[in-house]
């Protein structure tokens, strides 16, 4: 029997290996996707690579009408931005409302949680049925927008609830005791303190909507968003161009996360100077 310290160290090594292998497992496909997107003009979709070029990115840039990814990209971006803003506003009001413990706030909590629990395929399909009954044509900027927010809002709401759970109400009490109105206190004291959480809610709104596929599939009509366009292209033909758009949108996601994280960090520093 080994000493327990040796055994503990051994466990650490085994688990560390599992973690390392899993990270490799998770990252390797994405890195290969990125690598293959730089294949030469005759490049296939698997190894070995035939030359190195920016051919497929150029193809992406001056694409034909058939597989032009620029309009879908723009649509996805605008939609994500709209969802982000809506999520921020609605999740702050909803979390503030729950703090007020109105009658039925427990039910309200579960209603919002339902948005996370209900799978996209059900929400999308049900909403498409509803629109068909009402005789409304689906479109990316109306019906898709409504279903996307029903997906992003609960994440923002939970973020805000967690933030308010850790929030020190004495700060508000101090302002109110000094004669500030509730609205002023909220604007000048509460909001600046919870702003990092608000940024987090905004990030959820943006990235979840930008990548959303199942809800869009049922509620987007003829003008496709980016995930739909990518999927349509995959159905038609698998070319390295698809890898190029995959790499581009992944880099774009990273940039968006970077911007939000930087804003988060900068605000943290401003609120808690140390």
């Amino acid at each position: 029997m080994l000493h327990w310290k040796t055994r503990s160290r051994l466990t650490g090594w085994v688990l560390g290996t599992v973690m390392g292998l899993f990270l490799l497992y998770q990252w390797l496909p994405m890195l290969v996707l990125g690598l293959l997107s730089f294949a030469g003009p005759t490049g296939g979709t698997t190894f070995p690579m035939n030359g190195v070029s920016l051919h497929w990115y150029r193809e992406l840039w001056d694409a034909s009408i058939m597989n032009d990814f620029k309009p879908p990209l723009l649509r996805s971006f605008m939609l994500a931005l709209a969802c982000s803003l809506t999520t921020v506003v609605l999740s702050v009001t909803a979390a503030q409302a729950v703090r007020g413990q109105f009658r039925g706030h427990n039910l309200f909590f579960y209603l919002l949680l339902l948005g996370i629990m209900a799978p996209g395929i059900l929400v999308g399909f049900g909403f498409a049925l509803m629109m068909r009954m009402l005789g409304i044509d689906p479109s990316w900027d109306t019906t898709a927008y409504i279903t996307h927010v029903s997906w992003t809002l609960p994440f923002g709401f939970l973020t805000m609830l967690a933030v308010f759970n850790r929030f020190d109400p004495r700060l508000e009490e101090a302002a109110l005791t000094l004669g500030a109105s509730r609205l002023t206190t909220f604007r000048r004291i509460t909001l600046p303190i919870v702003l990092p959480g608000v940024i987090g809610a905004g990030l959820f709104g943006f990235s979840l909507s930008y990548d959303e596929y199942p809800r869009s599939l049922f509620t987007t009509g003829a003008d496709l968003t980016l995930p739909l366009a990518v999927m349509a292209q995959l159905d038609r033909q698998l070319t390295p161009e698809l890898y190029a758009i995959g790499t581009t949108t992944t880099v774009f996601s990273f940039l968006a996360i970077g911007v939000f994280t930087f804003a988060f960090w900068a605000l943290r520093r401003r609120v808690q100077p140390r």
Partner: protein
């Protein structure tokens, strides 16, 4: 005293926009699916008579029932793999990595793919799994096989491989949270009382992380049950789970059958969530 008065009208009205939105976009559509699944006749109209015919026809088709079974099997497989793998990773991150910088770096490396498109990550598996794919070339290069193995792309093995990489994070996240909130003094006390590490884990650590495990399992279950995109991308059109069935019926304009399949999906998921909510109280997790 806070910026909002307890049980005030203002609190109620602040909740109305978000509540209405969720009712209109989630609750009403879901109930509508339930209603449509009972529609008889042929026309798409609210005046259709209500019958059980759609369900009877669905359940009398053995291949649909097999499909429901394989959906459950797939969910159970993923829950087992992701649960085990996720717990190992979470335990390693929280308990074994003592260096703060390393922990942050590993955590980021683990969590960043989660913020990118699931669809792109599923597509990224395609060049890996094909007959000329990376895995086959590596296997042949090592001399393990002389001919490419064709079981990866367009097979459930490939789908499972991709789903493991997509959903392990969902199983690990809640466990990381629960592990991190265990006070170190608790384990130290047990160690001082001469409990061997295995006993500490079995009697103290694991029971305390159980809510995290349950939530992780629910998340994996829900996602695999509803995942049709990965199956479509990697399984080609050869394989289908319950979600694909909903989509296929929908695209074939068989809305009643699509609704029946969707109701089944909903029923399975609801049962899973209710079961899990009996075990843990999600509301208490965010509070300190």
């Amino acid at each position: 005293m806070s910026t909002i008065r307890i049980r005030s009208a203002a609190a109620f009205w602040l909740a109305v926009p978000a509540g209405t939105w969720m009712l209109a976009a989630v609750v009403v559509p879901t109930l509508l699916i339930l209603w449509v699944s009972f529609w008889g006749g042929r026309a798409f109209s609210a005046s259709s008579p209500l019958t059980f015919d759609n369900y009877i026809r669905f359940f009398s088709n053995a291949s649909y029932l097999r499909l429901v079974g394989s959906t459950f099997l797939q969910a159970a497989t993923l829950m087992a793999i992701c649960g085990t793998l996720g717990y190992c990773i979470a335990y390693f991150l929280v308990c074994k990595v003592t260096n703060g910088r390393w922990r942050t770096a590993l955590f980021l490396a683990f969590i960043i793919p989660f913020w990118t498109s699931t669809l792109i990550r599923a597509i990224a598996w395609v060049p890996f799994l094909g007959v000329n794919g990376v895995i086959n070339q590596a296997l042949m290069g090592m001399g393990l096989t002389s001919r490419p193995i064709e079981v990866f792309l367009y097979s459930m093995t490939g789908v499972t491989m991709a789903q493991v990489s997509l959903y392990t994070m969902l199983a690990a996240g809640p466990v990381v949270y629960m592990l991190a909130s265990i006070p170190p003094a608790l384990r130290e006390a047990a160690m001082t009382l001469k409990a061997p590490p295995v006993t500490v884990f079995r009697r103290i650590v694991f029971p305390l992380t159980l809510p995290g495990v349950v939530i992780g399992q629910v998340l994996v279950f829900l996602n695999v049950m509803a995942d049709f995109a990965t199956v479509a991308t990697i399984g080609g059109n050869k394989y289908a789970l319950l979600g694909n069935l909903v989509l296929n019926f929908y695209e074939g304009s068989q809305l009643r059958f699509a609704a029946v399949a969707a109701v089944l999906l909903m029923g399975c998921m609801l049962a899973g969530v209710v079961l899990a909510l009996r075990v843990v109280d999600i509301r208490k997790l965010g509070a300190r």
